[in-house]
Assembly symmetry: C2
Homo-oligomer: 506 residues x 2
């Protein structure tokens, strides 16, 4: 057995022997059941006293690693890592649940994880997630760009890069945003790993536990969760077809203190509404009047189906009060995890310090690939190409809903984004409906989690982006048929109940 002894080491010889045998056991070099050399032979081999080996073996036995059997010598009694943790082990499992902090305990419902989980089953028609249609990915172009990156910028692509984002990416993004009417320099940009991280980092930079945040009702679950994790409270402002009710916001601001206003003014998720120009100006006016930052989440701004895009709040902002969040996820490739915060340098610096603690920086490879897409109008061409495709899918879903003509089912025509937001006929609840349609292979997102302080059980969010026209029509047919069935059953139930209670009265 090869054991290297260091005579000058402070560690006693018998401990050196024990340590090196321990390593061999845990490495698997000495598997379970294998026999150690006899004490005498090892002592000879190493040129030490037999008593030194005896002591080393005694230590190993005390560690539970070897067993001495009379007449059979000393054997390894277990190779340490042979079994998965907690299974078949002689120790009771460690009680992790009690160590989680309060935020973790509060997070245990995991709605979003459920949605992402639902995606992985190939047999479902899923209207649950607003994921881009992979058929739209410009794959050939992407492969060429990857090759370019690896040919000319491979060092940067695989290496650490700046926390704020790679200069070449930020510069390309600024040019892109300039065409959108927003003037930013690279110092105004923090590159994040998707717009979800933008929300989390902003929350961690701004929110003090107990702070109130103004949000739309309903609004994006991921934003609510990020703000909740920073222990915010919510001041919800209802939306209608024209976006946030700024008249109600004005009333709230007169009597309530808030940290910032979070809004998704264009193609809102989930309510599929776009803030009209008048309310945009009103919102900015109120923010100035009450000295409140606006966090504008423009994840879906690139997917508008009207003749002209409505200007972003950031493009209307003249006092540096709007923080603008964008994302590559709905534009092109969600798997690259690229998003950005654009705003005043002072804020960006503070956010970058948090980002650095969070994950140092966003994938260099992803940034270089996206930078190439931003350059030379490639991305703009792609967007011009996908808008009509998604608009068509929207229309297919709208037609299917209209044809089914479920009494009391309400929706409106979204002018952007990937969703139809529908209200179920009373008293059908989205969660009950989902349980039934799921059995028939169709899922969607129930509305309740989008409501910051409860409610919304009668709403559903239907994403039309992922599936083919036939699947959309089939899926909507299944959902509508279930609603009709539930309405019929509920009517029967009501009759039953009333007859029972009549009997009781007798």
């Amino acid at each position: 057995m090869i054991i290297n002894l260091e005579r000058n080491d402070r560690t006693p010889i018998y401990m050196q022997i024990r340590n090196q045998i321990m390593i061999k056991i845990s490495n698997g070099n000495l598997p379970s059941g294998s026999r150690l050399p006899s004490e005498r032979s090892l002592a000879l081999e190493l040129g030490v006293n037999r008593s030194t080996i005896v002591r080393a073996y005694e230590e190993l036995a005390a560690d539970g690693l070897v067993e001495a059997h009379v007449g059979r010598g000393t054997r390894v009694c277990t190779s340490l890592p042979s079994e998965p943790i907690n299974e078949h082990s002689d120790e009771p499992p460690f009680a992790w649940q009690h160590l989680l902090n309060r935020s973790s305990h509060r997070m245990q419902d995991g709605t979003l994880a459920g949605i992402l989980g639902m995606l992985s089953s190939d047999n479902l028609i899923s209207f649950a997630s607003g994921v881009p249609d992979p058929e739209t990915y410009p794959l050939e172009e992407c492969r060429l760009l990857c090759e370019q990156v690896l040919n000319t910028e491979w060092k940067s692509a695989l290496d650490y890069s700046e926390t704020n984002g790679m200069p070449v990416f930020r510069q390309a993004l600024c040019s892109f945003l300039k065409d959108e009417g927003c003037s930013y320099s690279p110092e105004n940009i923090l590159v994040c790993s998707g717009s979800q991280q933008c929300l989390d980092i902003l929350a961690r930079t701004l929110i003090e536990p107990g702070d109130s945040v103004i949000v739309e009702e309903p609004t994006y679950i991921g934003a609510l969760n990020a703000f909740r994790l920073s222990r915010a409270r919510f001041l919800p402002i209802p939306v209608d077809r024209e976006g946030m009710r700024t008249d109600i916001l004005e009333q709230i601001l007169k009597r309530q203190q808030a940290k910032f206003i979070y809004t998704m003014p264009t193609a809102q998720n989930p309510a599929a509404c776009t803030l009209n120009p008048e309310r945009r100006l009103h919102l900015i006016k109120l923010a100035r009047q009450y000295h409140l930052p606006i966090v504008e989440d423009d994840a879906y701004g690139c997917l508008h189906y009207g003749p002209e895009p409505v200007p972003s709040l950031a493009s209307l902002d003249r006092s540096g009060q709007v923080v603008y969040l964008g994302s590559a996820s709905k534009m092109i490739f969600p798997g690259l995890r690229i998003g950005w915060i654009a705003g005043p340098e002072q804020l960006i610096k503070a956010c970058a310090l948090i980002k650095q603690v969070t994950d140092l920086h966003t994938s260099s490879f992803s940034q270089l690939l996206m930078a190439k897409l931003f350059q030379k109008k490639r991305l703009r061409d792609h967007l011009d190409g996908i808008r009509p495709l998604y608009k068509k899918k929207r229309d297919i879903m709208l037609n299917a809903l209209t044809r089914c003509a479920v009494p009391g089912l309400k929706w409106h025509v979204p002018d952007g984004g990937l969703y139809i937001w529908a209200e179920l006929p009373s008293p059908v609840k989205a969660a009950d409906l989902l349980a039934r349609t799921r059995r028939k292979g169709v899922v969607f997102m129930p509305g309740a989690p989008f409501f910051p302080n409860g409610g919304g059980e009668q709403f559903v969010r239907l994403a039309f982006s992922r599936h083919s026209h036939t699947e959309i029509t089939r899926g909507i047919g299944i959902i509508c048929a279930e609603i009709e069935l539930m309405l019929a059953e509920l009517v029967e139930h009501n009759i039953d109940y009333s007859s029972i209670s009549n009997l009781h009265l007798v």
Copy 2:
């Protein structure tokens, strides 16, 4: 001018006109200074009353978008987004600083950002960061793997994926870890964006504000910052050449409550020490006795220069008490941002809920690329290849230090990792030394930020990974020469001072 009026819309006609002109202004379709049609001609064109146009123009003037000049008609007075935020604008800049939360205020020193910033200057010899040598990147192989990913798995590579990590990656990682003596199933793994994110997510899952965390002194700055951001306090345990002083840990545990023990037992950053086998068993025994989780950060475990690797704590753990953090950043490609938390399923589930709020999931592309590297022993071959290269660089730096023979400068031979940890001769301070060597083109990391509760001003961390042999020798020569100069000056100063005070006594 093209304006589409919706007679059935709830928005009054004059507001529709105003809104659409506003959009044209902010789009740049109506640039600054351009003239609007006369009220009469636009009224005719749109088939509305002239008074409707008058009202619309009045609204636009009230918004500050147009100005009416007698005899010159109505002109756009500014295209809204023409200037960068806060510059040349008529509004005072918005006071963001006052909106930052307490954690943000505390983060404002940004030591790590500074290090990453130092990297970007090509003319420096930087011993500041433990970044892999890009010359070691297996580029040709990587290009082939990228092509494979894009040929066969492009949909998954560019699409959303599971929060916990892609199954194919987790499976490949588990096989890799099995060879390291750790038995995990994919359910025991959470894929993160680098090991920095592992630390942040664990902190957010476990730490309640005010909780105490046991850390080594010195220890990794990124861990300290992640724990600080979750408002932890620190119980520092000193390290020596054999790693954490578990005897002192035992004393502390007798009188102090802690949430968990954070340790980097192998090739510790920054102290370049490896916990000896005996202390490993002692540490695990103490953790069991006090029912304390151990967070084992094994970022540098792959870079050991001894004959056999010391077994990880995770491989010695039989009660599921060790959470194991790993990273691709020191193994191969830091730019991909791949790290992992391996631990009991219960904890992994709780961490995944936090991860989901943080950034939904880690880059799918990066995961697929890394999965391919884990498969077929490619990564192991790469590691076997880079260890001798780094060991050689270590020896070059050690030789340079020995040759310079600065009196009182102390270091030891690290048996792994990318750093030499050195103690400066008293009274030289690392920060003063850095200020001087920087002017001569050499930087390193001063020791103080690695100390959780202050101290460490006499230490420096010297990373030997990035530069060529010649540069290492030259850089160490410059540093050592500066130390000798400083010592000489300090001696002179001391003489001066004493002679001055003697004069005063006279």
